[in-house]
């Protein structure tokens, strides 16, 4: 099952378009759109009303938030839900290629940029670290650069953890930022950090790093690949773990 998410910021608008159909089949599903959010340390679920049009659900700027996550299910499945942890309700969005929503960022009277996004349920059960280049999909000549770091964790907690910006050649921590679980964390990315040797590294929790650049009202918005995308072989995760351990030594 996949979750979908948006984010909210005063400087730009976002919208989330979630298809009602699988990418290899024309049939429209009967599933409804639901949202999870944390309330008094419990997961609350509610149906997202007035968001349906044509073959899509639309979460526009007014409805979007940094806390909510969205998914497709039916009432029967929802009644089996839990307030204490996220549940994998169904396999409707377990498709190849991945079942995706379109997450779009835009500026009023300006440009727009999007990427096909999803957050697999399997990621929500994991603790760990992620690493990502800060320069691969950033624009050093942009007016503004941001990182949107999204974490979805299976327990209804909003826990602080850190993101570090590490120069992996000099082996120095250049900056650290506090971010939160179950939140779309929006960080400004300084130009000094848009450097081929600088990598973002999260401690304790994983997530998806997305990079947004703005110049003259034009936007670029894309996420980086996780490091295991670049290695194939039976020990790919062991290889990645070794590299992450080296980064962990630098931050400790």
């Amino acid at each position: 099952m996949n979750f979908f998410f948006g984010f909210k910021h005063k400087k730009f608008n976002t919208s989330l378009t979630i298809p009602k159909f699988q990418n290899r089949k024309k049939k429209i599903s009967n599933y409804k759109l639901y949202q999870y959010y944390i309330d008094e340390n419990k997961w609350k679920i509610s149906e997202v009303i007035d968001s349906s049009y044509d073959d899509f659900y639309l979460i526009n700027q007014d409805k979007t938030s940094n806390e909510k996550v969205y998914f497709l299910a039916d009432e029967q499945q929802i009644n089996k839900g839990s307030k204490n942890k996220l549940i994998n309700y169904n396999n409707f969005t377990d498709t190849t290629p991945e079942y995706r929503s379109n997450l779009q960022v835009s500026i009023k009277n300006g440009g727009f940029s999007s990427y096909q996004s999803d957050y697999p349920f399997t990621m929500t059960n994991k603790n760990g670290s992620i690493m990502s280049s800060c320069s691969s999909v950033s624009n050093i000549d942009a007016d503004e650069n941001y990182i949107i770091f999204k974490n979805i964790f299976h327990l209804p907690i909003r826990e602080k953890f850190n993101i570090f910006f590490i120069n992996i050649v000099s082996k120095k921590v250049l900056k650290s930022e506090v971010v939160y679980t179950n939140f779309s964390n929006i960080l400004s990315l300084d130009k000094e950090l848009i450097n081929p040797n600088v990598y973002l590294f999260s401690d304790r929790f994983i997530g998806i790093p997305m990079f947004l650049s703005i110049k003259n009202n034009h936007l670029s918005f894309e996420h980086t690949h996780p490091p295991h995308s670049f290695i194939m072989g039976k020990n790919q995760f062991k290889i990645i773990a070794k590299v992450k351990n080296e980064l962990r030594k630098i931050i400790n």
């Binding site: 290899r24 073959d55 727009f112 050649v169 980086t224 670049f230 194939m232 072989g233």
Partner: protein, 262 residues
């Protein structure tokens, strides 16, 4: 009854029936296969370049052998092809930095205003103490700038070729095709709000493929590419005889544009 069901399942999954199922597109077990890729290989996605309509293409890539294995002195080969799969340029890039960039514009291609595909291979020697069985997979990042405006980034998403690192033979057909044109792929976005949409297709296989996009039908020869302008629509439905036809999408609204993989 259970025994009969198990027996049918076993027969259904024998290698000959699997091969038939995958060939005709009936309940396939795989859409792509990396099983022929040997230790020490380099795999490349199919990346697209554009110099038409005032576009400039930038490709940013990491020295992957250095980053993950501390392998020094590797180099990269980049093959740039026309839309008809004619080799336009081969680059050999030594003295890699951790992060590298090439810019493909009209002057780089001797004034050519067109589009096509390119492939990137890492040539490296594994360290003697490397017991791990691994290959490098280049899925790095292209960016498209139109009229000198901000580059819009998109990552690689279509495996196309691999090289075993020992010779100059490049193997293909990681993505599988079917005999019949029975594969459907519907892009999961609503295209209603855009003034214009272009879809950039690359055939990542050695076979000719037939593609229909809504009502537009065309063929793509092996490793050729096509930039298709899509008439105003809500949905884009792609039918083909290939399991993995996922175009790069260019959306335009007013003076702005966006690029992403479908």
């Amino acid at each position: 009854m259970n025994y009969a069901r198990l027996l049918i399942k076993k027969i259904f999954n024998t290698s000959i029936l699997l091969h038939i199922r995958n060939s005709i597109g009936f309940r396939p077990s795989i859409y792509s296969s990396f099983k022929n890729i040997k230790n020490g290989s380099s795999i490349s996605d199919a990346f697209c370049w554009r110099t038409d309509q005032n576009f400039i293409t930038t490709f940013k890539y990491t020295d992957i052998p250095k980053l993950f294995f501390d392998i020094k002195n590797s180099h990269v080969e980049i093959f740039i092809h026309s839309k008809n799969n004619i080799l336009l340029k081969k680059l050999t890039i030594n003295k890699l930095q951790l992060s590298n960039e090439i810019i493909i514009d009209k002057s780089f291609l001797d004034g050519l205003e067109s589009y096509g595909s390119f492939y990137v291979f890492h040539k490296y020697k594994q360290n003697k103490n490397d017991n791990d069985d691994f290959s490098i997979n280049n899925r790095c990042y292209t960016a498209y700038s139109k009229n000198g405006n901000l580059k819009s980034f998109v990552h690689g998403n279509l495996p196309a070729f691999h090289n075993n690192g020992k010779d100059e033979h490049y193997f293909t057909d990681i993505v599988k095709n079917t005999v019949f044109k029975n594969q459907t792929y519907i892009i999961q976005n609503n295209f209603n709000e855009y003034d214009k949409t272009e879809l950039f297709f690359i055939n990542p296989t050695s076979q000719k493929i037939s593609i229909t996009v809504n009502f537009d039908k065309f063929y793509l020869d092996p490793h050729c590419s096509k930039l298709l302008h899509v008439k105003k629509t809500n949905k884009v439905c792609i039918r083909s005889n290939s399991y993995f036809i996922r175009p790069i999408v260019f959306n335009y609204k007013n003076n702005y544009y966006d690029v992403y993989h479908s």
